[in-house]
Symmetry: C3
């Protein structure tokens, strides 16, 4: 039998050592009420444009959350039993039944950040005081679903409730950004902005690449069948995104490979890629060149560049066929930075007006490659622990393995990278607590004065993110 009580502890995630905990508590107290800066994420801009009510607990909290889906799937739960609709149109479970199934399996999340985020949402956002179990499943479903129909839970109200000062969504290069137009028209344009994610027009392995490049031409009026026209088209779309608030671009390439080809080589390669006859190696080389092109454009237009490499997308072929992408079947692999980034760094590495934020799913690169690179090149900053590593132990390893070579000031603050709107405060709170914990350890071990730690706590919470994403 387990206790039925749900109440996040005031000292949660701090070290148990009393000396450290006391310092962490003091530091956290200084920054806990700072506004949330969320410069990288995947919430749906339609929410903030339309400002409609969310439907129910399952459709809002369960079905879109690939962290939850993957864990349940790993233990034999079928996705359609969780309310996920198969692509062939066959039936999936009703929302309440899916929620019950989730509740029955909630013990699987013990020890995971997912459990921490969810409990934080349940306790803090919905003010539920008993744990999610098979017995409380219906109570949860009803409480959450009912609460979602109240004014305070409309999307814009939630941003107020959560004290979100800045939120970036992410859209593809060809997106006409209708929702951001509406958001701007409604006066929310300083608070909710887009991010330029051009993978679908940069990646020849995308099955729609040729069509997408053609569309890019149509939208921008450039002749994208030529290399020069293609670049102009990209420049135009970047400008369009900037007009809709974007301060950053994002690049989810399979690797961190970059290249610096001659004009004749890249022109020839571009033609091959447009012909659709490119090999895998040619696709990789083209993507590599395009990272360098994006860096050059960022230098010109001032957009911060984010590189997110290292995910083997849709590793589970069957699941991808049946349900499509983003169902928890992306798996990390080894990533190389030192050799792979050199061609790009040869071009823009010494620029002090350029910000390139590096992320990784391969923690072995933290101390070996990323911290030494960011601790040297003026243009480089380290993004926060990403995805599978956006967790207590992941954040601990990030600080332990990057701080000594890169310092704190070559990092870019926290970002939540989430589509799960309700968990944004939970994720930022976790990051703030873990940063305060790390700083408290340094103070308790006489590696840093508490006064300096206090300055750092504020820097890590708001200032570094503002600076890295050019928010001021």
């Amino acid at each position: 039998m387990t206790s039925s009580n749900l109440s996040p502890h005031a000292d949660r995630f701090f070290a148990s050592d009393p000396a450290q905990r006391e310092i962490a508590r003091r530091l956290y107290h200084l920054i806990q009420d700072e506004p949330i800066i969320s410069p990288h994420g995947h919430t749906d801009p339609a929410w903030f444009a339309e400002n409609d009510f969310f439907k129910n607990a399952t459709d809002f909290l369960l079905v879109p959350d690939h962290y939850i889906l993957r864990m349940l799937y790993s233990q034999g739960v079928k996705l359609n039993d969780l309310g996920v609709a198969p692509k062939d149109g066959s039936a999936s479970a009703k929302p309440r039944d899916a929620w019950r199934l989730f509740a029955e399996h909630y013990h699987l999340f013990r020890g995971t950040p997912c459990r921490i985020w969810m409990d934080h949402v349940f306790a803090t956002v919905f003010e539920i005081d008993k744990k999610l179990t098979a017995e409380t499943a219906d109570f949860y479903y009803d409480t959450i679903t009912d609460t979602l129909q109240t004014e305070a839970f409309r999307p814009r109200a939630l941003l107020d409730k959560f004290n979100v000062a800045f939120l970036a969504t992410t859209e593809g290069a060809l997106d006409p950004l209708p929702h951001h137009k509406k958001i701007i028209a409604d006066g929310w344009g300083k608070r909710v902005v887009t991010t330029f994610r051009p993978d679908d027009v940069l990646d020849p392995d995308n099955p729609n690449f040729v069509t997408n490049v053609k569309k890019l031409g149509e939208i921008t009026g450039e002749d994208t069948s030529t290399w020069a026209g293609y670049l102009s088209g990209l420049v135009a779309r970047r400008a369009y995104f900037r007009e809709h608030g974007a301060t950053a671009t994002d690049h989810g390439h399979p690797t961190a490979a970059t290249a610096n080809l001659s004009l004749s080589d890249i022109t020839a390669l571009f033609e091959i890629c447009l012909s659709g006859k490119n090999t895998k190696a040619e696709s990789e080389l083209f993507r590599a060149q395009m990272l360098t092109e994006m860096a050059k454009m960022s230098l010109a237009d001032g957009m911060t560049m984010q590189i997110h490499p290292g995910a083997y997308r849709n590793h589970n072929a069957t699941l991808f066929k049946d349900f499509g992408p983003d169902k928890g079947a992306d798996i990390p692999y080894r990533v190389t930075y030192t050799e792979h980034l050199k061609p790009l760094l040869d071009v823009v590495g010494n620029e002090t007006d350029l910000t390139i934020i590096l992320f990784t799913l391969d923690e072995s690169s933290y101390a070996r490659e990323l911290a030494p690179l960011a601790g040297h090149y003026p243009c480089l900053k380290l993004g926060p622990p990403w995805w599978f590593h956006d967790s207590l132990e992941g954040m601990k390893r990030f600080r332990e393995q990057t701080t000594e070579s890169a310092g704190f000031y070559n990092t870019a603050g926290f970002n939540d990278d989430t589509r799960a709107l309700l968990s944004i405060p939970a994720r930022h709170d976790l990051a703030r607590r873990m940063d305060c914990r790390f700083l408290a350890q340094l103070v308790s071990e006489h590696r840093l004065d508490e006064e300096e730690a206090a300055e750092l706590a504020l820097d890590l919470t708001v200032n570094l993110a503002r600076k890295a994403y050019h928010l001021d």
Copy 2:
């Protein structure tokens, strides 16, 4: 001068922080007396079949223990001086002299799990209360050797003494399993079982591969010169092992490469391998295909599949020539899972009735590849920290680096993987203490309730192993 006292502390291996230690103690108290489940190991089945006395301290405890041999060898001690017999038949030290040499060098093991296991055996099994030193060497030798001649130290009595409820040994595919026949005949068949380890008939790099495949045909009555007959022969041997208690197979391939070739391709490759003219790459591809075949057979016959990749076997050429395998000269290297396992997972990854347990010697794969894979695919579970990582710090890293993505319930409990019978309780006790320590940390940091931690402690100690190896 060092203290001569030997007495394992009641709180050993728990964190020194009083809050954590108190919780760890409570959790450990709940599970310390649970029976030992040992589903993967390398004890000699002849021991349990014949139930004879063990000979002396050196031949039983020192000579077969490659952890001890490797450390002493690394510091210039010769193997024949430790009583290890060279293959050329030349002399090796007498048991008592070898033991004295071991005792003189016992300080080399400070800080190693080997020291912890040995001290546990000395203090708990032989009730010796002073440390092993040059001075106490003879006392140790005599005490141990004498005690081994008592009824309570016959192999079957030891299983009772140690509260071992289940013990699996490991045998090659061609082994007629005479000892397990005797064990079954004597009524011990539910307690001591075999494991199917077919490397010698799956690996074309084995110098006896062609002969072994021929023998497989002779034993099973199948025509193993054809691909179909070879597969049938393997199916037959798996059935034979199951009849002798096996619930699992084990695969010690150099890498985790898998393949999913067409029938014509694998038929052609099989012929090349049988001709003995295969290249290294063809051997690797054949082994890769055979992992997939084994997975398909496991799906059919219900045997849990264990994959143990990443050891460079017999790295020390001279030592291998002079003394043969398993003398401590196997060295790990980098292992790839995400790309390498995909062909196998494309075939069976989504099966909920199949259990494949992954092990690694490359800890950099824990957070990057293994936890994400096991946290998604229904068929995958993570084996405990293996070999060089079956240690305090190794276990700590395993939990820290896998729990947040895979959870606890995608792990397979502990196994001791040992041929050192007397150290089995020491190894399980260490694992139980380290699991309780990890859980206590989560509780003390308010990441988990103590009631849930108590459930988990029992799950990690017995339930997960029982489930992963289909013991119920």
Copy 3:
């Protein structure tokens, strides 16, 4: 506002847990006054030969320190503004201005070992009691510069002041060693010695390789246009270095690749390399063979061999062009040991009279490859955490990830690897404190007796270095 007080805490770097801290304090008390053994470093032998005063704070402490330069550069500070002279002869900042710029950016070093070393130097060596800030910059500059002009701060006096019993510098194979001649003549030859670093005559990728090999012939009177003569020339230079006190060689190859070619193959390869028409792969193979040749020569002449692989040198092409090497733009990458060292180990791996010390910049190799290798091969020892990992967390990870497989006695003690003379005591003190902290943790968790920990503390501080570098 931050506190202006500067005073290193007596318990700094020990764990905050009172039980651990108390034990660490006791262990540290036993060894804190032991003399400094510095068997690997890069101080300038001219200092100890000439024994002149150092010039000023900036030229001595700032300009040569690539740890400081890289961090400041990463945040947009220009090297010439720090007083670093460009190769084209253009102006750089005056010393006082450079120092002020450093002081203004001192907060960037929070959480880095650099900050810890510098504060230790300021507080302990110069007895300054307020922090370095923009406000105290001039006070610092004047205090340090003035103090450097006193007798107690001449180089030889500093060695006395710092209780340095042994210090090795590092010189190229062709260096005539004039400073060491003077040092020996002045009776300091047992205390300050050279180290044989032959990269420039072993590496065909060195632009001066062919000239250097020719010079090797001229200096030694050997015909280095032949393989045999080349080897004889190397033997002669090793003897020359030994006569000037060297007990060790050092090898900074890009990778840990080794080879064991036939005489005809290496002869042919040598000729290709001397022709200057070698490919990158041939350079790599030649270097690989030369590591094995060096190991054989070490076996013959008794010099300890140090292998430092894994740095991508001068990664920043622009900075290298403008300012030359060693400006903080060397970046680590992945290193392979298990496969790469095998050819060398096949030749000398089992020699008990040979010492080869392995270093790494790729921490993922600690537990996976280096500890298992050193825990088996008699000739191998592990060097201390190197460069980016010569830090609190780096030292912690080193012990945690190597001790359980290699033990303490297969490690080679600490070395500071520095050209920053004043920070030598800071670095050794940090290492001693971190070792005592690690030992204290083992004691507090009942993994080691305190009496044994005390023996180990002394071994790690002096005995293991003396043994590994053959200083007795």
